[in-house]
């Protein structure tokens, strides 16, 4: 990690979280405050670029580089809650640092707005920050209400794992970070079939049927192992499951009743933060069953 201190970050919210998934932001800020990670707001940031990569790679590179240049001006590393944003900023940072000609080309664009990409900062996703900067020991020490009787499943999502060349802090074929972070809360993390499979969210709107079938199979596999909740760390994966679970139940004549929690909500409960402070009321699939179990266990 480059300069300066590793517990002070510019928080890059991206677009999906302020647009639709504030529960993730609320719960993340709560746990990070408890863990002593200082967040600095990032004014004037723009879309990370990823959504426009399919239509214009050049646009993606410029948008990402502009964000990196903004952070460089402040001399702070970036923290993202969205794996898509993290992956894009990491990838573009690496590409531009390695390809001088491309860097020059992108910098002629940034120059139009009086900016320059130098390659002096780094980006981390929440998961990587928790693993590398905070550490499992400190997280375990912050747990006052271990979730001992809770059995959950994890869904990493794609962009926190792949492409390995750019993300690289976990094994895409057998990821361990999120599992270890879940176990740190005292909960059990169950294995299930096709854990590393895509949630399908990017195909929504192009082929809803394909997307929902992917999500349905995931939910079936999670149900098979009797998980009480699914833990996510991506706003898109969360939307995909939380928003569509009822729809999938109706469409395919299934019953799940599996609440979809952001990891910070799970850790927050284990830290003894009150459920009403962790934005559980924003979830579509009712989580009250496990919240009752957890809070009664605390008494």
């Amino acid at each position: 990690m480059s300069n300066p201190s590793s517990n002070k970050y510019l928080i890059f919210l991206g677009c999906a979280i302020p647009y639709r998934v504030s529960s993730y932001e609320i719960s993340s800020r709560k746990i990070l405050a408890k863990l002593g990670v200082e967040l600095v707001e990032m004014p004037e940031f723009n879309c990370c670029g990823l959504p426009l990569d399919p239509v214009s790679h050049e646009t993606m590179l410029i948008l990402a580089a502009r964000n990196l240049a903004l952070a460089e001006q402040q001399g702070l590393n970036i923290l993202t809650l969205c794996p898509g944003c993290a992956g894009t900023l990491k990838k573009v940072n690496k590409i531009l640092k390695e390809d001088k000609a491309l860097k020059e080309k992108i910098n002629t664009h940034l120059k139009e707005a009086g900016m320059e990409f130098k390659g002096t900062i780094e980006t981390k996703h929440l998961l990587q920050l928790l693993k590398e900067d905070v550490g499992y020991d400190k997280i375990k020490a912050s747990v006052t209400n271990p979730l001992t009787n809770l059995k959950v499943a994890e869904h990493n999502g794609c962009h926190i794992l792949r492409p390995k060349e750019y993300i690289g802090f976990d094994d895409p074929e057998d990821p361990q970070t999120l599992k270890a972070l879940i176990e740190a809360t005292g909960a059990t993390c169950l294995d299930y079939i096709d854990e590393t499979e895509c949630c399908g969210a990017p195909s929504v709107g192009v082929s809803d049927k394909v997307a929902l079938q992917l999500a349905k199979d995931k939910l079936n596999h999670i149900k098979q192992v009797d998980a009480q909740a699914l833990i996510t760390i991506c706003p898109f994966c969360h939307i995909m499951y939380d928003t569509n679970e009822l729809r999938i139940e109706k469409m395919f004549n299934e019953t799940y009743g599996i609440p979809i929690l952001h990891y910070p909500q799970l850790l927050g409960l284990a830290m003894g933060i009150k459920p009403e402070e962790l934005a559980f009321n924003e979830l579509r699939v009712n989580p009250s069953k496990i919240i009752n179990q957890v809070t009664q266990g605390a008494k």
Binding site: P54, R66, D208
Partner: protein, 191 residues
């Protein structure tokens, strides 16, 4: 389904004529960032067999698209609406034994399709939102106001003017800012 079964990529289309092949297409692709290694593909099929979308779609086959491109079927590749089904999960990229970066090749096909006038509406909306606010979605005022009652800091204001300046001269952006031209609206597929 056997390997020989026709996919909708070719189904219902005229047989291939030698005259529609563009033998230079593959060399064009070799020069584009992301598809440089397309000629290393030896059609093993790892990408398609590991593709979560291919599992549920009977039309999206990354291997087929790459093969078509290698053969020079440029128009058929770029006009194929199955291109837009890729979820960019990068499983194919990570598992390709030839290091072809399959997901990036698909992205290059999409970029070229857009240059040829095919762009699903959703992307037009996102470009408009980025140019308007810096964000990829139009975030409702209610959401922005609600943040305070949720104990969240105010949403950082974007700087669309600065964003527009940096995007000056990007062909796609210039085109989008023109009045509506010919675009392809990809409809959800009925499968």
């Amino acid at each position: 389904m056997t390997e020989a079964a026709p996919t909708p990529t070719t189904k219902g289309q005229e047989p291939i004529k030698a005259s529609e092949l563009d033998p230079k297409f593959k060399y064009e692709l070799q020069k584009i960032h992301g598809s440089e290694k397309i000629l290393k593909c030896f059609q093993c099929g790892t990408c398609t067999s590991d593709c979560p979308i291919a599992r549920y779609s009977d039309s999206y086959r990354p291997r087929t698209l790459i093969h078509m491109a290698q053969l020079g079927l440029k128009d058929r590749v770029l006009k194929s609406d199955t291109l837009w089904l890729c979820a960019a999960c990068f499983t194919c990229t990570d598992r390709c034994p030839q290091d072809v970066e399959v997901a990036s090749v698909i992205r290059v096909f999409r970029n070229l399709a857009v240059e040829n006038g095919c762009m699903p509406q959703v992307f037009k909306d996102q470009i408009a939102a980025v140019l308007d606010s810096g964000y990829a979605y139009k975030i409702p005022d209610l959401r922005i106001k609600k943040r305070e009652s949720q104990g969240l800091p105010p949403l950082p204001k974007g700087n669309p003017e600065s964003v527009k300046k940096t995007l000056k001269g990007v062909k796609l952006i210039d085109n989008v800012q023109k009045p509506a031209g010919e675009t392809l609206n990809v409809q959800p597929q009925q499968q």
